[in-house]
């Protein structure tokens, strides 16, 4: 693989590239879905290829191919250079990447059990057992449980002299029960929605996930939701569980801090950001108890790696300190425009995509509250858990979320279950209303394997740590 990278970089330089990098990737994915008591899908996908990114005439070009031969490396690098020359026909300034990044290194995801070494029969048995628990509940119409395992072997090489090898391993699993009645469908998932909880980890991550133990509970909840009262409309106190809060962090903090969005580079598709550069270091993002940081080095978290896809080491970066906005996610090119160095967040969804600024593990620091104390301290409100729907405007201000599960809170106690719960708000107003966050005992990192961005579309694997938290004066029950 190194020979191929060398050939591509040499060809790019011969074509006039002032900078080039090559990424050669082999990805193996195993996915299993059990549905309604049967194995509905079982697949192993092997994918390989390489991409060459070049700067020629001060402009970017990128080409990629699934054919891993030296001849193809020359052709693809030449094509990338030709594309870059076309880019330079419509440029306003030359690309600047700032100071060189030179690293020769190897990184591997630490894990206990290689997920690809575990017999398929064992995996299927675990899913069938969880599925059976859900199907024991009368009124359940659809049950689905799944596992996914990913192994990525990647070589990154650049004309600046970097040569980085990485082997990243992911494991994930989840279950879901759906109840159907006349005019109503209710779904409950465990441990999270979006299919599963996933981490940069081995099979131990799945083995310890307690799918079977929670099957009947979530199925019961799905059936109960069919006849639960509708979530009322109004302004109230809202307590979010850590899974929903993780998505709230993702949409209303994680995306707006991407500096490429801020600089307009995603304007035509995902949008821009309200978090303009004049706000850095002074903008009141939330209440003083809100502290958020990006950290790509947390063991086991889905957004963890050794080096990003520009060859920059994984790092921890403060995003919000005591409620004040203090840092963006950056690339080499965007950071250099701020006079800074990249904080290592450029990642690509495979060999055939260019790296973009992506979230890593964006986490809300825990507070001091015990969950029971937080409920007891709340006279009137709603507790919402596990995401069901999500939407936010193209500057990341107006959001609306729905959750699978909700309970009313009356006089310090959780009360009746509520269905079809939704809440809405404006990002800085919402975070300013945060007056309590639970302690590290309740804090957990949630892997999100479906973060979309870019054209052609890319899905990033990111994560968010959060503990349940309370927000005042929130509009709920949007009909």
């Amino acid at each position: 693989m190194k020979d191929l990278a060398d050939r591509a970089l040499n060809a790019a330089q011969l074509q006039g590239a002032s900078y080039a990098d090559a990424r050669i990737i082999r990805r193996k994915t195993q996915s299993i879905v059990v549905k309604n008591g049967h194995v509905e899908a079982l697949a192993q996908d092997d994918d390989q290829g390489f991409g060459v990114r070049v700067v020629v005439n001060g402009a970017w070009g990128f080409a990629s191919s699934s054919v891993l031969t030296l001849g193809e490396a020359t052709q693809v690098a030449t094509r990338a250079a030709d594309i870059a020359r076309a880019s330079s026909l419509v440029k306003t300034h030359d690309v600047s990447l700032g100071s060189p990044e030179v690293h020769v290194a190897r990184y591997e995801t630490p894990f206990e059990v290689d997920p690809f070494s575990v017999p398929l029969e064992d995996k299927i048995a675990l899913l069938l057992a969880a599925d059976a628990e859900m199907r024991r509940v009368k009124g359940i119409a659809i049950t689905e449980s799944n596992m996914e395992f990913v192994q990525v072997e990647e070589v990154f090489a650049s004309t600046e002299g970097s040569l980085i090898e990485q082997k990243l391993v992911e494991s994930g699993s989840g279950i879901e029960a759906t109840a159907v009645s006349e005019g109503e469908v209710q779904t409950r998932a465990f441990p999270n929605s979006f299919g599963r909880q996933q981490g940069k980890a081995g099979y131990e991550f799945v083995r310890d996930s307690k799918l079977e133990e929670n099957g009947q509970r979530i199925a019961d909840e799905a059936v109960s939701l069919l006849t639960a009262p509708q979530c009322p409309s109004g302004i109230t106190t809202l307590i979010l569980d850590s899974t929903q809060l993780a998505l709230q962090v993702h949409e209303s903090c994680g995306h707006p801090i991407e500096l490429d969005r801020v600089m307009g580079e995603e304007a035509s598709f995902a949008g821009t950001s309200f978090l303009t550069q004049d706000k850095l270091g002074s903008f009141r993002y939330g209440s003083p108890i809100v502290n958020i940081y990006a950290d790509a080095t947390i063991p086991g978290a889905l957004g963890t790696f050794g080096y990003d896809d520009e060859g920059v080491p994984a790092q921890r970066t403060a995003i919000i300190k005591n409620g004040v906005f203090s840092g963006y996610l950056t690339s080499r090119e965007t950071a250099s425009q701020l006079g800074a160095r990249s904080n290592g967040t450029m990642r690509a969804d495979g060999w055939n995509r260019i790296p973009l600024i992506r979230m890593t593990n964006i986490n809300l620091e825990p507070g001091t509250w015990e969950f029971d104390d937080l409920i007891a301290d709340t006279d009137d409100g709603i507790y919402m858990a596990v995401n069901k729907s999500w939407s936010i405007d193209d500057k990341r201000l107006n959001f609306q979320f729905g959750t699978q599960l909700a309970y009313e809170i009356k006089k310090g106690k959780l009360g009746a279950m509520l269905r079809n719960a939704t809440y809405t708000g404006i990002t800085p107003e919402f975070w300013a209303s945060c007056d309590a966050i639970c302690s590290d005992r309740h804090w957990r990192i949630w892997g999100l394997p479906n973060c979309g961005k870019g054209e052609p579309a890319q899905a990033a694997h990111v994560a968010h740590g959060a503990a349940p938290a309370r927000f005042r004066n929130v509009r709920v029950g949007i009909a």
Binding site: V39, L42, D46, I83, S268, D393, N398, Q400
Partner: protein, 445 residues
């Protein structure tokens, strides 16, 4: 391009390698280019050559799938063995009947050489046209120009072999000022139909006209939804309930409502995989020819689309709408049409006493799938209408709306339609004038 002959050779080799009782091979080969621009310059410009091979092996009632994008003999042999091994390790799936038998597949001419050979320099020239139009008005341009060729081939051990190439070109533009934006987009099989000047002018015009937007109170308003906005609603409607599995599982809005009126009489929706005014592919990922399916006719729920799995469950024939295996979501429409009317947007505007003009929606998601309630934001050109005229641009609003109810109050439909890309394939729709549309929130811009 690999071409029909080379793809047939690959599928024949794979079928020969497979020791399964039944085997299916799906090849998807892409030669795709995309030039992306922002801040009135090209900032991303990419190319991809890839061929994915997906093998479905069946032994008894056990099904396994394996895929690779390595075309070497060793890899082809390996993927055939993997698929069979995966199948053999699992319990029976009693719902699985068989891979489909061969049927004649009609020819569709969806390949345009001009699109396939479009160069990076030609894409850059089109982008330069849009950027120049924006810069002349002190505005900033962003967007993307796609030109791509995709080849599909499906073969199975019952004798199916189907091959079809398809080209796609698409130019989108968002033009922005400090407080406004405008959008335009055009999609076609034939890149010569993409008019960069027209796209640029449309987006610039919207950005200019939407400057200095005013806030308006959320509420229920009449709306004119441009084709871009209608296409998004139709895409979600299709995703939520126009496939057979969603009906069989009771999660579709069509379930138990066949023969009933579910929208206004002026609404007809169908899928036609052979219609070249969309993005046609004449067969599905099982190699079954696509049937035209009348989904909603004059407001009445008529039918949904099937793959062989869902069709077998009901003793019906597949309509040719299978997605690639393994697929637990079921079949989906892939070349969707909403029937045109007889109006123009100008006539819609003139007819409206009070209401909103919506260019497009952003970040739409289902709130209640069975009730077809969606939420999302307006974007890139929203205007307040009074007494038949646009009075002012407005800040963007959030809608939370039952789509079938909206389609029940469609007052006027344009004669002109526009092609967009949906989740799976194409979608061609007119603009709609709708009597009641619920806006439930507002944002700051």
């Amino acid at each position: 391009m690999l071409g029909s002959q080379r793809m047939r050779q690959i599928t024949e080799r794979l079928l020969a390698y497979s020791a399964a009782q039944q085997t299916e091979v799906v090849l998807l080969s892409e030669d795709a280019y995309l030039t992306r621009f922002a801040n009135s310059r090209i900032h991303q410009n990419v190319a991809e050559q890839n061929t994915q091979i997906r093998v479905r092996a069946v032994t008894g009632k056990k099904v396994g799938v394996a895929s690779t994008n390595d075309l070497s003999d060793a890899a082809l042999q390996g993927v055939a063995e993997n698929a069979l091994q995966i199948a053999s390790l699992q319990p029976d799936n009693p719902d699985f009947q068989s891979l489909p038998a061969p049927q004649p597949v009609p020819k569709v001419d969806a390949f345009v050489q001009a699109t396939a050979s479009f160069t990076p320099q030609q894409r850059a020239q089109a982008v330069a046209t849009v950027c120049k139009l924006a810069t002349e008005r002190g505005l900033i341009a962003s967007g993307a120009f796609t030109s791509a060729t995709t080849e599909y081939a499906v073969a199975n051990s019952h004798g199916i072999f189907a091959y079809a190439p398809q080209t796609l070109s698409e130019l989108t533009a968002v033009v922005m000022s400090s407080d406004s934006s405008g959008y335009a987009s055009s999609s076609s099989l034939d890149v010569r139909e993409i008019n960069a000047e027209q796209i640029g002018r449309e987006a610039v015009d919207k950005a200019v006209r939407s400057r200095n937007p005013k806030a308006i109170e959320p509420g229920k308003y009449a709306v004119i939804l441009e084709e871009y906005a209608v296409a998004t609603l139709m895409t979600y409607l299709s995703y939520l309930g126009l496939g057979a599995l969603s009906v069989q599982e009771g999660r579709s809005f069509m379930a138990n409502r066949f023969g009933q009126r579910i929208t206004g009489e002026n609404i007809s929706i169908w899928d036609d995989g052979l219609d070249t005014t969309g993005l046609p592919v004449p067969f599905d990922f099982e190699g079954v020819p696509k049937q035209r399916v009348e989904l909603i006719t004059e407001g009445v729920a008529k039918a949904v689309v099937y793959d062989s799995y869902t069709a077998n469950k009901e003793g019906k024939q597949s309509t040719g709408h299978a997605l690639p295996a393994p697929n637990t979501y079921g079949p989906m429409p892939s070349n969707l049409f909403l029937g045109a009317g007889a109006s123009t947007k100008e006539e819609m505007l003139a007819s409206m006493d009070r209401g909103l003009w919506v260019t497009r929606f952003h970040y739409v998601n289902p709130v209640h799938p069975l009730k077809t309630i969606l939420t999302g934001m307006t974007r890139d050109g929203t205007f307040w209408i009074e007494k038949g005229e646009i009075q002012m641009p407005t800040k963007n609003l959030r809608f939370t709306q039952n789509v079938l109810e909206a389609l029940s109050s469609a007052r006027m439909i344009t004669e002109q339609t526009r092609l967009s890309r949906g989740f799976f394939g194409g979608i061609r729709v007119p603009a709609l004038c709708i009597g009641h549309f619920a806006f439930t929130g507002a944002t700051e811009f």
